[in-house]
């Protein structure tokens, strides 16, 4: 299974607070309709990944985190965005892997890259200088302004702080890419009222904070989950539920969110994965 989270591992084996009573997302099947009205059975994880790939349709270059972001970005190269330039923090610019890498440093990333650069060059010349359109991140905890925690979680007064992997490349990816996409499974464990630690800044305490902090990119523009899509309110930058996946209700999403989630005036329903998208995703995972 290649879907274990990478640079921003989630906290689900840490006993972080929060419960939503749901089983593992991958076990549930959801029935959707494809463009021709043919039902396509697929899992919520597949719906999430397909929608995450679609979010890259307009991107030229993408700084890719391992795990879900990498799966989505590689799927985009096989569906909506064949020319997408994949950039991995290990130093690969323009990697074209034929199979999903387990780590951001698998050999195939360098072998297929347009160029291989050192890590200082990657972060200074390419990321910091603003050359990358989209940063694609996961998260352990996310708050209503799409700020991210991947460092530590508070497990209550009687237990030591739970240790997560830490920052990795995320703080500067979130700061310096033209915009940021976030993909993670929806649960009250991940979508929290208050972060235990701010590792990477989304929209800070609200609209205008990024400018005040001198962060050059636009910040998170979408959070894609297994239940739907959240986007920042144009006024306040607070995340709004803008899209549901087929068969999911607003109440379900609210129950899986650790703050009183607001919805957009009009909530759309995402188009179900097409047979072509599903076939490409399954081939990618099987490779």
């Amino acid at each position: 299974m290649r879907e274990e989270p990478g640079p921003v591992a989630d906290g689900r084996d840490l006993g972080a607070p929060g419960r939503d009573g749901r089983g593992p997302a991958g076990e549930r099947e959801r029935s959707g309709e494809d463009g021709r009205g043919v039902p396509a059975a697929c899992t919520p994880d597949e719906v999430m990944t397909v929608n995450a790939a679609r979010a890259l349709a307009g991107a030229r270059t993408c700084f890719v985190g391992i795990g879900l972001p990498s799966t989505a970005a590689n799927l985009a190269r096989r569906t909506c965005r064949p020319d997408l330039v994949l950039i991995y923090e290990s130093g690969a610019l323009g990697a074209k892997p034929t199979r999903l890498p387990l780590s951001i440093g698998d050999g195939e990333l360098a072998e297929t890259a347009d160029a291989v650069v050192s890590v200082p060059e990657m972060f200074n010349y390419w990321l910091q200088a603003g050359r990358i359109d989209v940063g694609f991140l996961g998260a352990a905890q996310l708050d209503r302004f799409a700020n991210i925690n991947t460092t530590v979680v508070n497990r209550g007064p009687d237990r030591p702080e739970g240790r997560l992997p830490g920052a990795g490349g995320a703080p500067e990816i979130a700061a310096s890419c033209g915009e940021v996409l976030i993909v993670l499974r929806h649960s009250t464990r991940n979508f929290v009222d208050r972060l235990d630690f701010v590792t990477s800044v989304g929209h800070g305490a609200g609209r205008g904070d990024r400018e005040r902090l001198g962060l050059r990119g636009r910040g998170p523009v979408a959070v894609i989950t297994d239940l739907g899509i959240l986007r920042p309110d144009p006024e306040s930058a607070e995340l709004l539920l803008t899209d549901l996946h087929a068969g999911v209700t607003v109440e379900q999403v609210r129950a899986a969110t650790g703050w009183p989630l607001k919805t957009a005036d009009q909530v759309s329903v995402t188009a179900p994965p097409t047979p072509a998208e599903l076939a490409a995703l399954r081939a990618l995972r099987a490779a």
């Binding site: 990478g6 640079p7 780590s103 698998d106 830490g166 920052a167 490349g169 001198g214």
Partner: protein, 272 residues
């Protein structure tokens, strides 16, 4: 000109109790064999420096040889947690582990400052995060030209840096290629540098994108074929992803880890 040594000799000569040691290699070319030799020799009270502690430091931490870790991302890449690292941080087992924690961009620049002989490096980073609350090697500096406030990160100058490379020649000139990570900066930032190599060759043939470190900039070279396993050396081996996955259950349990260490690293006659 670097000294050509056996691995046990080189480790004994270059790495001492209490040293600040960087073993670099960004997923690729991680010097595992050298770390295993450190475990066999019981060199302890180390400050371990590495952007991604990876399984290599999970082993050193679990073996009780580290008192401090300087790092930016402590996970098992593509698999999940580093359980020995977490056990040390959360429960102090087998001993407490002090942390100095940065982002990748910060760590890369700290090495670059160290290699440049500067006291600190400047970058645009960390703004708005809680990271500055947990480290004293991070500050801000005002640009004298624009007035912009920027992050300043303290230089890293390890007592010794250990890296693995594909080849060296008999004068100890070293060539590495593929993902070259932060090894050049880490080697040049250190007071002493040890390079383990897949093979020693008569002549280094230039490779696209390769880094060459002149032998006079390196303290010692040791030939250790397969010395990066379960990491890899492009052109020689592939990453042993199965091992990284197998490490998860081994490292989750203290007794199982301890038995693994005894059977694979410290038992009489074990190598690499």
């Amino acid at each position: 000109m670097a000294d050509i040594r056996t691995l046990p000799e080189a480790v004994a000569e270059l790495i001492h109790d209490g040293d600040a040691v960087a073993m670099e290699g960004f997923t690729h070319l991680i010097p595992f064999a050298a770390a295993h030799e450190v475990i066999r020799q019981g060199i302890t009270d180390l400050t371990l420096i590495r952007m991604t502690p990876d399984v290599i430091y999970d082993q050193l931490i679990g073996a009780g040889l580290a008192r401090k870790l300087v790092f930016s991302w402590g996970g098992n890449p593509g698999v999940g947690s580093l359980h020995r690292f977490r056990d040390a941080v959360e429960n102090g087992w087998p001993r407490p582990l002090e942390l100095d924690e940065h982002s990748h961009a910060g760590m890369a620049n700290r090495y670059a400052a160290g290699a440049s002989g500067l006291p600190f490096a400047v970058l645009r980073g960390y703004r708005g995060t809680d990271i500055p609350r947990r480290t004293d090697t991070l500050a801000t500096v005002t640009c004298p030209f624009t007035g912009e406030e920027l992050a300043a990160v303290a230089a890293l100058n390890p007592d010794v840096t250990v890296i693995h490379a594909q080849q060296a020649d008999r004068e100890g000139n070293v060539q590495l290629w593929g993902l070259t990570g932060v090894q050049k900066e880490a080697a040049l930032a250190a007071r002493r540098a040890l390079v383990t190599v897949e093979e020693i060759v008569d002549e280094l043939r230039p490779r696209p994108g390769a880094i060459v470190l002149p032998g006079w900039a390196i303290t010692a070279v040791a030939e250790v074929p397969g010395g990066a396993h379960p990491s890899y050396a492009a052109g020689y081996s592939v990453r042993d992803n199965d091992f990284y996955q197998a490490w998860d259950p081994i490292s989750r349990d203290r007794e199982r880890f301890t038995a693994w260490l005894r059977e694979n690293i410290t038992r009489e006659g074990t190598q690499v």
